[in-house]
Amino acid sequence: MKKLLILGAGTAGTMMSAKLRRKLDPEEWSITVVDQDNEHIYQPGLLFIPFGTYRRRDVIKPRSRYIPAGVQLIQTEIERIAPDENQVRLTDGTALDYDFLIIATGSQIVPTETEGMTGPGWFKNTFDFYTLDGAMALYDALDRFKGGRLVLNTVEMPIKCPVAPLEFAFLADWYFTERGMRDKVEIVYATPLDGAFTKPKASAMLGGLMDEKDIQVVPNWNTGEVDGEKRVLSTWDGQEMNYDLLVTVPTNMGSDVVERSEIGDEGNWVATDKHTLQSKVAENIFVIGDATDLPSSKAGSVAHFEGEVLEENLLRAIEGRDLLPEFDGHANCFVETGFGKAVLIDFNYDTEPLPGRFPLPALGPLTLLEESEMNHWGKLAFKWVYWNLLLKGEEIPLAEARMSMAGKWR
């Protein structure tokens, strides 16, 4: 019996277990997935929790429910990957041998990377919304907020879902307007980038929206320290900013397992071929989702598009055939802009987000790089798509792995 081992039962790992269970003969191949707990969180939903749109129950389900029949799920922490021995060791002492390994261990926030961040202000005046605990605590903090300066902050790149801080700012503008207190709240976005976003056309468009909504963007802000007692955010070169409420996206890093196994870079991202998704660690190890060091977005849509390429290439590797350099960095994100609208962006390694129309079967075209209500409904509908199609590795009506230029305006 040959063994496929998948580390991580998040978006990418769960989806791959479903895709490959359909393709690999159960008489010949066992598939095992390892994760440390049994809580699968719908991460795009965390953004909506602080504003009360979603509750805890909307975003959390047992991982085991989405692991298909014929796949074993082990709930234990992973100690170490030993590529030379084709073996993964778990913290309970179990050793798992593999013929092929998929690393899908994702990314995590590491607030302790910033001096003072987890000090006296943590979860009192300083919050993250990338964890369920953070998002829930922030719901209460926003509810209690009487006005003042709300600072949104990205500590350093790369982060998972790079549009999330912008979305938070847009939704905060809407939220305080609805509560009739927008005039009492100053919203500031302090970012290490030189504008609202990285890609020029989208940065200009989203930056324009920030202006319209009276959200101040402070570019080139390299956070060095947080003083939760005095409520001061400061940079490495000594600039300071006061805040009443700090909503931060702390440093994002790959899994500690990657560091313990000595197979990652300085951010614990695993060196991966950007077109085939084969790791540069060993030929029988592939990497998918946030865990890679690819110059693409860390986002569920990217994991989905990578999934098609990884399925093909893993099957090719098993048969000893050449891998296809098919992955083009395709990402596709709905950006919530408040007041029931959203912007859709679609891009890859080489093509930045462009305006135009995104062809969607049955429902009609969605506007690209332009606000619309339809895009907002698309974003909310995605929750259903995620649990019912994406995690099961089914086709979803969001185009194919390779980005298409159809409908885009240059």
């Binding site: 350093e156 080139n220 060095g224 070169d237 300085e266 693409s296």
Partner: protein, 100 residues
């Protein structure tokens, strides 16, 4: 010899071809950024050049700190304003990618 006057630069002012770099060019780039290069700056530049030769991309500040051994705070003192960008430019490397 390549000088700032005849160097091929991209739209952001970074050297198009890292092989055209010379130590003299580094001095010129530094002068433009009002930085006087010390031994410590050269340690960073040497690391950036070596790392680029190995990896093919300009190192991030985190990488210069963790692998190159220069503390983050010092990086901001050596290259005020934008250590990642400035170190890359002075070292003749392409603009570091803000991955998205």
């Amino acid at each position: 010899m390549t000088t700032l006057a005849n160097a091929q630069l991209d739209a952001d002012g970074f050297l198009t071809n890292a092989e055209d770099w010379t130590p003299e060019l580094a001095e010129e780039f530094a002068r433009e950024a009002e930085i006087e290069l010390t031994d410590r700056h050269w340690e960073v530049i040497d690391f950036c050049r070596r790392d680029f030769a190995e990896k093919g991309t300009a190192p991030t500040v985190r990488r210069i700190t963790k692998v190159g051994g220069i503390p983050t705070k010092e990086m901001y003192q050596l290259f005020p304003g934008g250590p990642g960008i400035l170190a890359a430019r002075i070292s003749g490397l392409p603009k570091p990618k803000g991955c998205i």
